[in-house]
């Protein structure tokens, strides 16, 4: 029985792919972006227990060396996330494919599809593959994967067979900038982008515009041109940086200035026209 480490499930989202979708967020990531908006999804819990005394609702306890989360007591204040030294969360849950699928099936009347996101959901590829296969086999829902693109090609090939759309969060095009921003290389990401594009399933590429990093019109325009060169269908979404949820150096950074953002949107629109989507 395949299990996954689930950060959370959102029953209804209108912003994670086309139409009405349920979103599953899997725990764990292979990049550590400086501007990450949900850093608590990055690592797996190592049960250090430091979050336990931080909980004001007694919803966390240590039992046999493991942190246990009481969902009923939890008041969703996220105090535990703030003190976690590992960019993790005590509120993750180990779920079987059957459990996640049951949750989806219960509300499928209201959905166009599901989107699996993270963290980097493809790290749990066995679980992900089994879940998407089940959804494909037993429902009419479309399956989308929200990824940073850092996926071994063999895994990508397997997933592609059961995925209707990919959403690539391309952090930066310039390799050095990408490394500075995420700690990782983007050569494989760009190869995967081309592979998915050629399959016709690259629904969206998006970039969060981070002041001091990716707020360069030339960089944004180059990404827009790349998307334009890849195919004739993929939309490109620009999202302004916001400090909410961010930890580390950028936590104190101001939100993206509107005027500056508008310039970047204009630069990208020059290359892509109507395929450019302005995020909020």
């Amino acid at each position: 029985m395949k299990t996954g480490i689930v950060n959370k499930i959102i029953d209804s989202t209108l912003i994670d792919g086309p139409g009405s979708r349920l979103a599953v967020f899997l725990q764990g990531c292979n990049l550590s972006c400086r501007y990450c908006h949900n850093p608590e999804t990055q690592r797996l819990c190592d049960h250090c227990g430091r979050c336990v005394p931080a909980c004001p609702a007694d919803a966390l306890s240590l039992r046999d060396g493991r942190v246990v989360w009481d969902e009923v007591r939890c008041v969703r204040c996220d105090s535990c996330l703030a003190v976690c030294p590992h960019y993790s969360s005590p509120k993750t849950r180990i779920m079987t494919v059957a459990e996640v699928f049951a949750r989806i099936a219960a509300v499928q009347d209201f959905l166009d599809g599901i989107t699996v996101s993270g963290g980097e959901c493809t790290l749990q590829h066995d679980f992900l593959l089994a879940l998407l296969r089940r959804v494909k086999a037993e429902t009419a829902l479309t399956t989308f994967i929200d990824t940073n693109g850092l996926i071994p090609p063999a895994v990508l090939a397997e997933l592609s067979a059961v995925t209707d759309g990919f959403m690539f969060d391309l952090k930066a095009l310039d390799p050095d900038l990408h490394r500075r921003l995420t700690g990782g290389d983007n050569a494989l990401i760009l190869r995967n982008l081309a592979t998915v594009s050629a399959r016709g399933t690259l629904y969206e590429v998006r970039t969060v515009v981070v002041p001091g990093y990716t707020d360069d019109p030339a960089e944004i325009r180059r990404i827009a041109e790349l998307v334009g060169d890849l195919n004739r269908y993929t939309r490109y979404k620009l999202i302004p940086f916001r400090p909410q949820g961010v930890r580390g150096e950028l936590a104190a950074a101001p939100p993206m200035e509107r005027e500056r953002f508008a310039e970047l949107v204009a630069a990208a629109r020059g290359a892509l026209g109507g395929r450019l989507v302005e995020g909020r």
Binding site: V6, I10, S12, L14, I15, P18, S20, L22, A23, D112
Partner: protein, 500 residues
């Protein structure tokens, strides 16, 4: 007669409002239609409430004339020829509207406007069509200033239907109320226009046409708040049963279902039958109405409504505090109560409910301005709404029991406008689950859906400053906002759900 003089001297009322209040005062100087002591007792204790319909009713509460017949045959009484083009059709309708009685004095049903006008669209140019429809809607807003005045479109995709949606989106008026009969056969691109219009204006309602045809047949309309009733007929009356007050009379849930509810429903049906009888036999409405003489309505198409409200609080009392939408046991009891109430109503015969096989219909009454701490119909208390899909699932389950109207309201974040397809999918899912009437809105909308009708935020502000307003419904809405916390409805975030 002090109250009469008080009405005459009231500077907050304009002339039509004064006239209506004086008519009501005259009617209420008469004794109440004869009732048993038991029924009288329930009215006096507020277990049953008659919505202040008056002591001696002289016209049906809601009338849904067959306007198509009027356009086809003209009217001897109104001295109208059969309509030959769009000008004549619109003129005939505007004349007829002023001659349709109701509980409010304004027509609560304007007709299936696409069916009525689509046959005439080729009689004018595109520019004339646009202009005529625009003036038609403006005329309705100005001459019938009452947000219970209700227009229907759908399920077909028509030029008239599209134009009404486009104009409503632009005009953003509280009047008229608007319903789209939505069917599985309604084309998506037409439905998308309706969703976009609803997110901007809270209009139209989405009415589950496929289900309602099964309940009332093809010939039905949506009038006033969201009352689904036989076309060419209507409803005599709508007394309502307060499930919160009734629950207080019971020892426990079994006592409620076995003893209290049957007794109160019995009294409710007595009041309904007495009021319907008075309208037909004493006021001899059908003998005095040109609508009946000319076949635009028929006594064979009339019914009456038994209203229910306060289910949320009733369930809470009977379960020792469990909450509908959050506790499975509360949902279960809510379902049992409405199933039982429905069956009890249907056990009674009502001689003048010929439009619904001699049976009274069941209606989820949406509350009035003076209700405090009691929730409309079978809705979940404002501010206590569960997750979106959980609420839709429960509402759909409970709405099965209502043949003459029930609705639920869903408020989205304004950014939902960027994903019309997604909202349409949610509407379709609700319809698939059996939801009968669904209202959408966004949290920043200038038009606010109060219970079943709309008011403009800016009009509420004007009312609070003491300005005289044409629409009497603004006062109702403004008071309701205070008493019912209307503005505190849960807003559906564009991402919403619980942590798993």
């Amino acid at each position: 007669m002090d109250n009469v003089l008080a009405i005459i001297k009231d500077t907050s009322l304009d002339y039509p409002q004064k006239r209506a209040a004086l008519a009501s005062a005259a009617e209420n100087s008469l004794p109440y239609v004869p009732l048993s002591d038991r029924a009288r007792g329930y009215l006096d204790r507020g277990v049953i409430h008659d919505l202040n319909e008056g002591h001696a009713p002289y016209r049906p509460r809601y009338i849904l004339p067959d306007y198509a017949k009027l356009l086809r045959q003209g009217s001897a009484y109104l001295n109208l020829e059969p309509s030959r083009d769009l000008y004549e059709a619109i003129n005939a309708l505007l004349i007829a509207y002023r001659n349709v009685p109701s509980i409010t004095g304004y027509p609560v049903y304007l007709g299936q406007i696409d069916d009525l006008l689509e046959p005439f669209v080729e009689t004018v140019s595109e520019a004339e069509l646009n202009k005529l429809l625009r003036l038609f809607l403006i005329n309705i807003d100005r001459t019938l200033p009452d947000a219970f005045v209700h227009m229907n479109i759908g399920p077909r995709d028509t030029r008239i239907g599209r134009l009404v949606l486009a104009l409503e989106r632009e005009l953003k008026k509280a009047v008229p109320n608007l319903s789209l009969k939505y069917s599985a056969t309604t084309p998506d691109d037409f439905a998308r226009l309706a969703v976009a219009c609803a997110l901007d204006t809270s209009k139209p309602y989405f009415v589950n046409h496929d289900v309602m045809v099964g309940v009332l047949g093809e010939r039905y309309g949506i009038a006033s708040c969201y009352n689904t009733l036989p076309l060419g007929g209507g409803s005599f009356t709508l007394p309502r049963l307060n499930l919160k007050e009734a629950a207080k009379l019971a020892k426990d849930a079994d006592d409620f279902l076995g003893r209290v509810l049957p007794d109160v429903v019995d009294a409710l049906c007595e009041i309904i039958a007495a009021r319907a009888r008075f309208i037909v036999e004493e006021a001899r409405f059908f003998e005095s109405s040109f609508l009946a003489r000319e076949g635009l309505i028929s006594p064979d198409r009339f019914t009456a409504m038994a209203g229910f409200f306060g289910l949320y609080e009733g369930v809470q009392i009977l379960t020792g505090g469990l909450r509908m939408g959050h506790d499975a046991a509360a949902n279960e009891l809510a379902d049992r109560i409405m199933a039982r109430a429905h069956d009890l109503v249907k056990q009674h015969d009502c001689a003048y409910c010929r439009g619904t096989d001699g049976k009274i219909t069941v209606h989820a009454q949406s509350g009035i301005d003076s209700d405090v701490d009691v929730t409309a119909g079978v809705r979940i208390r404002i501010g206590d709404e569960p997750g979106l899909f959980e609420q839709i699932a429960l509402a759909s389950r409970l709405q099965r029991y209502f043949d003459s109207g029930v609705s639920d309201i869903y408020i989205f974040e304004s950014t939902a406008r960027d994903n019309i397809d997604g909202v349409l999918k949610i509407v379709k899912g609700a319809m698939k689950r059996g939801m009968r009437v669904m209202a959408l809105n966004t949290s920043d909308s200038e038009l606010i859906r109060i219970t079943g009708y709309l008011v403009k935020r800016s009009d509420v502000e004007r009312y609070r400053r003491g300005e005289q307003l044409r629409e009497g419904t603004v006062k109702l809405g403004a008071d309701s906002i205070v008493n019912n916390r209307t503005l505190e409805r849960r807003v559906r975030r564009i991402t919403e759900g619980q942590e798993s």
